[in-house]
């Protein structure tokens, strides 16, 4: 069993209204030293695979095909065992 920790973030040039709203929210709470907030997704995908290489290939493909939208998002992931 493997677990992939997948991070999906908006591409840098893409507007992130959520991030902006959270930043404003933090500011109004008195966190005046916040420079920037970007909001993305974090997914934990547990999967069975022969070996690590196989798991890596699978997750890479999942990210490309479904977990991220290449038009507006980037992704990266780590793989942990167990």
């Amino acid at each position: 069993m493997y677990k992939a920790l997948v991070y999906v973030t908006l591409k840098p040039s893409i507007l992130d209204p959520q991030g902006t709203a959270v930043k404003k929210g933090l500011e109004s709470l008195g966190f005046s030293d916040v420079m920037d907030v970007r909001v993305g997704k974090y997914l934990e995908v547990s999967l069975e695979a022969e070996d690590k290489q196989e798991a890596l290939t699978q997750v890479e493909e999942m990210c490309k095909k479904l977990l991220s939208n290449p038009v507006i998002e980037d992704y990266c992931f780590e793989l942990v065992e167990g």
Binding site: S13, I14, L15, P17, K24, V71, I72
Partner: protein
């Protein structure tokens, strides 16, 4: 980008050699790269209408009710009591093909801005959508994304999405159609315009910060989609409905102060289009410093700033000396409002970066001097053959009841509840007639009035005969309004066609426009604005010609609003209008015979007018209890819709023996309305129809929980539950994939 060494940079930007020479002539010099970029977007089809202008001129645009015709951000129509309705439709087809959620969302955002820029408070949204077949995963993906994008934006900003239409056809597989329409209400005195007048008045940018979104989006929208589009696509614009809600409230508050001289939203071509259009309309110039424009990203150059299509921004020209008042209103809503320039008297749009002039172009060169083409028009060669297809000899269905059920489950005909349940159609508490009827009705608080709204187009009819198809689109829209008891007042249209440089496409366009114009004249519904989207093609194949028609009508007394549902046991059911043997272009013909051929149903504008007048009178005089237009699927489907809407069945007997049952049940003959009538009013209704020289036929009675349709050689007998299961279940079932 500026360092591009291509020796013909204008070609890269979508301008022809001929156009480049014209630009040199206008400026009496070579344009620099920023200027070239500005010309390229303003002279794109999307902004300049260079291929469509001569044809659009043929539309009727005048009428006593018209306060603002085409040329402004939205058309405006008088509804009495010092009130008016502003409305407009806009396409977002190409962005939606690339990123359906954001493409559709920003389309909604753009059309809302067009309406509140006029000083109107938006009160309703509609949309007209077309996708490929739902059996394709990509179509499902686009359909799902577009619907949630529309919902995401409209629901958040709090404007109810009250109506629309969805069709599925393979011609839209690669190039979906996404048209959004917005309707707002204003007091006459608050009517605002996109004009920069008053030399010395400040020019302000308000709303969101500028980023690198959608640079060259307008040019992108003016090209065919192909594989390279994926690569060429500009940074996708992301909509922020929350920001737009704040912007809308702030702008409406600002307009109430009376300090606004002119206001223009930044849509396609962003700052470039808004500034040159405002100056051009005001016969003035504008001088602007891009260094002052609030930016979201670092290191943006003048080219990027001028061409950015970042959403939720506006250009405002307030009276001189009122800058601080403007700023304080925007500050209250947490928004930027920055003076970036000034109105000048020299007719020049002068863009500076600090002290340095980076572009200097006569404003009118960008707006009015764009070359206009009268394209060649030629009827497609195969069309005559297709129209001539002999439909008289086709075999009849073997099982009418099964055919009827199959027809109800065709995605194009089936209930669109799956779509509109995702839209908040009630926010604002004005929605008196919800989606699912002929037209939506919203009340106007503080008056007894209601506004009826619809958007319509059967593009298969337009494909088979653009002239007749154009007439039908307008007539059906008006008929939908009339069924609620509303008098049709005006039109906004969205032309979604293929590449106009192809004579066959241009012919379709010209013919459809001729039909639209003629129908608008006959029904006294002037065109007050609209939008043209050409180049809707994939791999050289055009979509079905799709001129969607958005229409607005007025109900004097909201208490008298009429709906489609059968309401009382034992009410008599009549058909106004006549049944004819017209299967051409029908959904039945495609479904059962696999044919998209023949002539579409004919449309006689004189008959249509008397039908509409008669129906309106019947409703006004409280003589009928329901009214419903027959459209796709014909008489049988329309009857089913009347039954389902109120949960009341009907016993129908169709006597006409001269017609084939398939034509009678499923043919899509125009100018027909099903009404239900209390027995005591039957004679009066018949007399009224006769006085309008209108055929009226008794169909049966409302009763029970089944729909029974008997004819000489067929029987349909189904419970409403069985009918509903097919009608409502079809799309959810397909979407489960």
């Amino acid at each position: 980008m500026e360092s591009k060494t291509d020796n013909k940079p204008w070609v890269e930007l979508g301008l022809t050699d001929y156009e480049y020479e014209m630009i040199k002539g206008i400026l009496s010099r070579e344009p620099n790269y920023v200027e070239l970029g500005m010309f390229s977007v303003m002279w794109s089809e999307h902004c300049s209408y260079k291929n469509s202008r001569p044809v659009l001129k043929t539309f009727p645009t005048k009428g006593a009710q018209v306060l603002q015709g085409p040329g402004e951000n939205a058309g405006v129509i008088d509804i009495g009591d010092g009130l008016a309705v502003a409305f407009k439709v806009e396409s977002h087809n190409h962005p939606s093909a690339i990123e359906p959620y954001q493409g559709a969302a920003t389309g909604v955002g753009g059309i809302i801005r067009d309406v509140f820029t006029m000083g109107a408070r938006p009160i309703a949204l509609l949309n007209s959508l077309r996708f490929g077949s739902l059996s394709s995963a990509r179509s499902r993906y686009l359909f799902n994304g577009v619907v949630s994008g529309i919902a995401g934006y409209g629901n958040c900003i709090g404007i109810p999405t009250v109506g629309g239409e969805v069709y599925f056809h393979p011609s839209y597989e690669g190039n979906p159609i996404v048209n959004a329409m917005c309707v707002g209400i204003l007091e006459h005195k608050d009517l605002a315009k996109g004009v920069a007048s008053g030399v010395g008045n400040p020019v302000m940018v308000v709303g969101a910060k500028t980023g690198r979104d959608g640079i060259c989006g307008a040019s992108f929208a003016s090209e065919e989609l192909n594989e390279a589009s994926e690569e060429k696509r500009p940074a996708v614009q992301v909509g922020d409905p929350f920001m737009e809600k704040l912007l809308m409230e702030a702008c409406l508050e600002l307009i109430k102060t009376g300090y606004v001289v002119g206001m223009q939203d930044m849509g396609a071509a962003g700052l470039t289009s808004s500034s040159c259009e405002m100056a051009s309309k005001g016969d003035t110039g504008i001088e602007m410093d891009v260094a002052l424009i609030p930016r979201r990203e670092k290191g943006m150059n003048p080219y990027e700033i001028m061409l950015s299509e970042s959403q939720e921004r506006m250009l405002v020209v307030p009276m001189k000396g009122k800058e601080d008042q403007v700023k304080s209103i925007f500050k209250k809503w947490g928004l930027d409002a920055v003076v970036v320039g000034i109105v000048t008297d020299d007719g020049i749009l002068r863009i500076k970066e600090g002290e340095k002039v980076v572009a200097e172009i006569p404003a009118k060169a960008l707006t009015e001097m764009c070359p206009v083409f009268e394209r060649e028009a030629k009827m497609p060669e195969q069309l005559a053959e297709i129209q001539k297809c002999n439909l008289g000899e086709l075999p009849e269905p073997t099982n009418y009841q099964k055919t009827f059920l199959d027809l109800l489950a065709r995605p194009t005909i089936a209930s669109k509840e799956w779509v509109y349940e995702q839209y908040d159609y009630m926010v604002g508490i004005n929605t008196v007639v919800r989606p699912g009827a002929d037209a939506a009705v919203v009340r106007v608080k503080g008056t007894k009035k209601g506004i009826a709204l619809t958007i319509d187009c059967n593009s298969r009819y337009v494909y088979l005969n653009p002239y007749v198809g154009g007439k039908i689109a307008v007539s059906e829209a008006a008929r939908n309004l009339v069924c609620t008891g509303a008098k049709p007042l005006g039109v906004t249209d969205c032309i979604n066609f293929g590449n106009p440089e192809k004579p066959e496409i241009f012919w379709q366009f010209k013919e459809a426009a001729r039909g639209i114009g003629e129908a608008c004249r006959a029904l006294n519904t002037p065109v007050t604005g609209g939008n043209v989207s050409f180049y809707n093609e994939t791999k050289g194949e055009a979509v079905f010609p799709t001129p969607t028609v958005g229409m607005v009508g007025l109900i004097d007394d909201i208490e008298k609003v009429c709906t489609l549902s059968f309401k009382n046991q034992d009410d008599l059911i009549y058909l106004l209008g006549e049944n004819r043997d017209e299967l051409g272009g029908s959904e039945f013909l495609v479904m059962y015979h696999g044919l998209e051929a023949g002539m579409p149903p004919d449309l006689d504008l004189e008959k249509e007018t008397s039908l509409q007048e008669c129906t309106l009178k019947l409703i006004k005089e409280d003589l009928i209890n329901s009214a419903h237009d027959c459209s796709e699927g014909g008489l049988s489907v329309a009857l089913a819709e009347c039954c389902l809407a109120g949960g009341m069945g009907a016993q129908i007997r169709l006597e006409e023996s001269t017609l084939r049952p398939s034509s009678l049940l499923f043919g899509e003959t125009q100018s027909r309305i099903i009404i239900s009538v209390s027995r005591e009013n039957a004679d009066k209704v018949k007399a009224m129809a006769q006085s309008h020289s209108l055929p009226i036929t008794k169909l049966g009675v409302a009763q029970g929980k089944s729909l029974v349709i008997n004819g000489n050689s067929f029987t349909i007998n189904l419970t409403l539950n069985e009918i509903e299961a097919r009608y409502k279940g079809a799309i959810p079932c397909l979407m489960k994939g």
